[in-house]
Amino acid sequence: MTKTAPKGKKRRRWITRRRFLTVSAAGGGALALGFVVGPVVGRYRRQSAIRATAEATGAFQPNAWLVVHPDGRIVFTLDRVEMGQGTMTSHPMLIAEELEVDPRTIEVEFAVADRRYTHPEFGLQITGGSSSVRTSWDQLRHAGAVAREMLRRAAADDWGVPVEECAATDGTVVHAPTGRSRTYGSLTRLAAEQPIPDPPLKPAEEHTLIGTALDRLDAPMKVDGSAVFGIDVTIPGLLNAAVIRPPVQGAAVVSFDAGEAEGRPGVTAVVEIPTGVAVVAERYWQARTALDDVRVEWSGGRPDLDTQAMTEQLRRLTAVPGKTVRDDGDAEAVLAAAAGDYLEAAYDLPHLAHAPMEPQNCTAHVEGDRCEIWAPTQVPGVAQAAVADALDIPRENVVVHTTFLGGGFGRRLVADFVVEAAHLSRRIAGPVKVIWSREDDMCHSMYRPQVRHLLRAVLDEDGTPVAWHHRVAAPSLLEAIVPQWLPAMAPDAVPDVMTRGLSRVAGGVFRGDWVADPTSTEGASDTPYAIENLRVELARHDPGVPIGFWRSVGHSHTAFAVESFIDELATAAGRDPFELRRELLRDAPRNRGVLEAAAEHAGWGSPLPPGRFRGIAQHFSFETYVAEVAEVSVEAGRIRVHRVVCAVDCGRVINPDIVHAQMESGIVFGLAAALKQRISYVDGHVEQSNFHDFEMLRMNEMPEVEVVIVPSTEEPTGVGEPGVPPIAPAVANALAAATGRRIRTLPIEPALSA
């Protein structure tokens, strides 16, 4: 997902400046007073809340993330869900660094949907955009430091010694001159009495945890089957459900006949819900088998959806000018002057499913005007607002618990499966868990859009590109997603009817010619290559396929187009593809840094075993720079990827092993898509259904992956997604080197055997 607001610090400064302007414009008075008094009142309220908690329970809760209990337990509330990317390890590390405790002793709880956990950039509670470390970096270290300082001052007060003589270390405060010490647990009530400080954060040189490869804190739970995923949730009286979904995209139930289903053992209800017909039973398998007995009549929807037709439409769209997204110099004039002596290539990328290992599921319990949800969701805040809207109940009456997520990859940024369970629970007046089959997940996803890129370039006599013309035809993700997210972003003060109305029109912003969706051209419009005449255009495609954010979003396709085409230019000019990139990255030192690191580590230019060839690609996404070198061979018409070297610059590193793991993960994810995956429509339905026709990379195809972290003292940036974009072009480039054949349509395997 892309950033929709300027990042962290900058944004805060921006707001401050804007507030200042507002105040000045209003001529001051009451408004200005409000801005002075506001924080004071806020601080006073927080202070009283801390005291009240300590009085009631003895626990010290300095902020929304931390509780220190009198028995010494430290509970940390993780507000960025754990879906494999490592927040359950990295985030306790951030807290522990400043709190001066062993992170392995911290108990981690998953946050419920709560305004206090609103993402500072997205404005809603969300885990996505490879932003968890970047946005929690200051926030959590500060939260830990505040707690530590209050505990330290509590001890100093108690002993009647200067606070400077008291050191916090490993969960205790020590007074060195007298050798006295007190555990954090024994200081909770006293700490709650301390004024809330604003302590400075440790300088990087003093970090003892940040930068170390602490073992994953969730690993123990994930090697003995005890980690609780959404699908494992159980509550008293829970029933289970399976759903018959439309055979044609968007079709609606006309009528249904439950047939024998209702009489089957365990089955308690067969009911219509907005997404289809649900069979509810004591156990899931009873519900699932009973589906066979239900006959449903459907109507409407989009039986015309057809991938072949969409491909042709995309071709038509790239044949005519689109909306200008970037226009440096005059690429069109240079192209016209070239009088046909230019290079042109088009790249086609298919729809893709996220297919996380854990199929969608949700447990819901509606009682009157209250609803409790347990779900593996990336967007607890969106789920909360959407359920409130669907059931027409106040948002604060919806409690959303998150569980471990069996993968997310963007699929769980949409709360459709949560709303569905809530509808069903209300319908049957009891708690129910809806479990999607793999086929449901594959055929009713929010797909990475099908996209086409058309590129043209003019080279000068030295083979240097002097004009670059890039036309993207893609649907608008923001048009699809913003209306779903808006209700969760609106402040409580905004009446529901207003947010509902607003969310209905919000997507329209990206329709027509008004605003170009930045997620369609990210990675293309901001290409770091120094080319004087550079034009990027976007044509909006709207085939009516449900779409969503798929790991690395727009970068998942723009990188393939840009990095393949640069390679094609190098080949046409007879230049080394690494050297050409290096030259064109003269104004982009961090891109060049990872490019050089990957090339060096991979031994770019050195001899390879016979039959093996290298390809290289670099890409910047989610504030992180990644370059990858792939080594491939082709035997009997089949491609094999032997080795991938990856260099990453993600600023300061919290946990290098998690950075490695995320690069490995992104490479495998991107490689499966590049080589094998494609979602296609025929007669309005998805042709693929399970892992036999939407294939994954498997153990026997796993390349050796080597990751090099380029050292940096910049602010930390994300690693969940940036490993994905470079792999497809790196492999396609290696393949072109190996065979002379340029694959411009993904996935590669079928294209290669065609």
Binding site: K222, G225, I231, R283, Q286, E358, G407, R438, V668, M699
Partner: protein, 158 residues
């Protein structure tokens, strides 16, 4: 139809109202209440549901409950009482799990492999593990962890 078998060493009788056709996966999860074994595809395509039947790795999502009558079934919960199985230790040391959803199945496939082949080659690992999908892409670490556990087992034996 009541089906009696041994689950993680303890005799158990599950009453299947679908004539013993209920997949072992759902019987283990919903009737026996052991949720470590996961549902991923339901068609023997992903390995998330892997358990041991008389010591062999099988896909419980396509194994009818009736077919395990009188036999020994082991799930991930039985690897050790305290995460001390060499594979569990190796998994933690190599930081294998990401989302973790596939890992019960991965561990059970690996455990069956090591039980019959204490010194597996990379090719042996490919053969034994290729039926287990990991969407998070942890294969490289799984391979390392299997080698690590095998080394520990060999050392313990010598």
């Amino acid at each position: 139809m009541p089906v009696t078998f041994r689950l993680n060493g303890t005799p158990i009788t599950l009453d299947d109202n679908d004539d013993g056709k209920t997949p072992l996966l759902w019987a283990i999860r919903e009737m026996a209440g052991l949720t470590g074994t996961k549902f991923g595809c339901g068609r023997s395509l992903c390995g998330a549901c892997t358990v041991h039947l008389d010591g062999r790795a099988i896909r419980s999502c396509v194994t009818p409950l009736g077919s395990v009558a009188g036999r020994e079934v082991h799930t991930v919960e039985s690897l050790s009482p305290d995460r001390s199985h060499p594979l569990q230790k190796a998994w933690m040391a190599e930081n294998v799990p990401q989302c973790g959803y596939c890992q019960s199945g991965q561990l059970m496939s690996a455990a069956a492999l090591l039980a019959r082949n204490p010194d597996p080659t990379d090719a042996d690992i490919d053969t034994a593990m290729t039926g287990n999908i990991c969407r998070c892409g942890t294969y490289q670490r799984i391979r390392r962890a299997i080698h690590r556990a095998a080394a520990e087992l060999r050392e313990a034996r010598s």
